[in-house]
Amino acid sequence: MTYTPEMMELIKVVEATRPQRVGQRFPSMTMEEREQVLDSFHPDYIKANMREIRVGVNKGNRMPLELADVLEGRPRISPDFDLSQPEFSTDVLVIGGGGAGSSAAILSSESGAQVTLVTKLRLGDANTMMAQGGIQAADRPEDSPSIHYLDVLGGGHFTNYPDLVEALVKDAPGVIQWLENLGAMFDKLPDGSMYEEHGGGTSRKRMHCARDYTGAEIMRTLRDEVRNRSNIDVIEFCAAVELVLDDNGKACGAVLYNMETEHYFYAQARAVILATGGSGRLHYQSFPTTNHFGATGDGLVLAYRAGAKLVFLDTMQYHPTGAAYPEQILGQLVTEKVRSLGAQPVNIKGEQFVYPLEPRDVEAAAFIRECSARKLGITTLSGQPTVWLDTPMIDLIHGPGTVAKALPAMARQYKRFYIDMAKEPILVYPTLHYQNGGARINVDCSTEVPGLFIAGEVSGGVHGRNRLMGNSLLDVCVFGRRAGVAAGAYIPGVTVGLPNLSHVAAWNMELDQAGMNGAIHSPILLPNYTRTV
């Protein structure tokens, strides 16, 4: 109904080729073809949109312009900020209230530690909540953690850190069991075995799901559990703006900021877990994003100033299927599960042009190629290039009602704009989705900074240069749990020395010496979407 008459005509073309396309498998690319399409069409490969960072541990490394600007920002507080009277003291300070932060809080609370979780928006306001399609775990007899390992490495172009991947794949089935024991409801067959599908780049079906609310189901369960724990305090609408180190260089808390009263204060802790998520709201290369409102890369800024090394930040994930029409939902996620269930990407002629489940970077680059070099995309009234995602195939393949049952969130989103995706194809285009890299961590989430543990999207290495679908929900649980355990084991016997912000003073000096006036103050905390007149 919201499609224009011109679009309705184009839909007829898609409908005409549909019967012959059902069951027709478009060949997947060879490794060489993958490299070629990435090199020519993936946004990461556009040199003009990257630059070298000029200060800090990663000096000289290339990254997107928008990220370099924020990382090179001026601190929001002075190095002389008064730390003599902490507003509170806790054993473990968890910064971030998404899947990783919540998992970390739960596990460190189990060690008996007193935990305080602070989060910039509400507990659960995180990309975890929005992940739809699934979570990987090799638990079927046909599958194994070693096959999962190989899939992860191939998807990441063999750049991933092997120890982290090993941890990811070996912890995976245990994570599913943990979540289920907490009461998360996964889709199952009548005998109780898990219903599992393929994702892009998987060689076995290992995508566990909860309809298309997988992340929401995991997040709301973890959130509920955090609230059930008497030794976890939660402070919402409270951002961290700087880590605090003691005179031995150990992390010993953070300067926090009440988002509503605009009050800055010091919270002391014996260990800090940083789980602040990604940075899609920096809108790299002006892409729209699937990310939640708070994804502004704060944790990268904090960790970087404190001396943590960042890795793989020249690679961002563009999800192949962002909603591209209607404009009100531009950039919002169309879950990969839509393709897992059989929907094919097709061009204006109604032809397939790419295997539907290539790894995400390859799939996205192929969409961009179809619209740019090949000029076979569909351009909307606002000039947005798009390709069709032929969603009516899902009910054709799996039977009527499958879209409604397996993809209720997607169907609901389109229904709000009078599009019935079970009957009409939808228009999609790559959207900024995920920060592949981040702060370098060890398998126990420890870092260069003693007492600082980092987990989830803000960390880097496990996915290498490209993450596969379903490995992010897994990542936040695996490494969130590991960070919680490690912090719990670390704190006994730790005594906090003299807290100070000398690393912030050193940072300012480095900026001064480089002649950088730093117009941006970072972390930026929230994007600014108000109209500038």
């Binding site: 190989l150 939640h292 609901r412």
Partner: protein, 228 residues
Amino acid sequence: MAEQIQNIPIFIMGKRYDVPPSLTIMKAMEWAGYALIRGVGCRGGFCGACGTVYRIKDDPKLYFGLACQTVVKPEMYLAQIPFFPAKRASYDITKIKAEPVTLFKLYPETLRCLGCGTCTKACPQELDVKGYMAAAMRGDITAVATMSFDCIMCGLCSARCPAEEPQYNIAILSRRLYGRYLAARSEHLEKRVTAIQAGKYDSEINKLKAMSLDELKQSYKARDIEPQ
């Protein structure tokens, strides 16, 4: 210049702003100059931060929606309900049982439901809230869990409820009881977890970790892909 689309008047908490008609409520608020902190979250319809109540001029009916998913209408009077102080019971999931009495003990107010259906009218997900509350009164945990599954916990149901029910909190308790105790167990999952703990896959993975890049690439290419 091309024909300009006329802005439309909307009233944000009673104050008039003229905004482009194609915007969602959330984007219209930002267009009007509101730098949102409360009432904004995922911006994709999943987090429940932006529950909004609105009315159209001369129409007494209240409408409900998510600010990030609802397009503005002319003469719309709106207010957001980003937080609602509904009761939430604390419990130890390992120590409670999936029995009706658990619901009634933790949420005795469940039985006070009037069955008026105001909650259902307020649900931006169009869930049958009244229906799952009826199931809760029967102690049918499975029905509450499945009927409430798409709940985003925005709290609009509670905000409107004359019986002061925390419907969405009763719903998540039921889902967690179902997930932990009532869903059939997955045998293949339990077996795999045990095998990993016993170190069954360590040598395979160590072998992969010891491979050169070329060997890894060969192994990757040689993978057999399970059919769709």
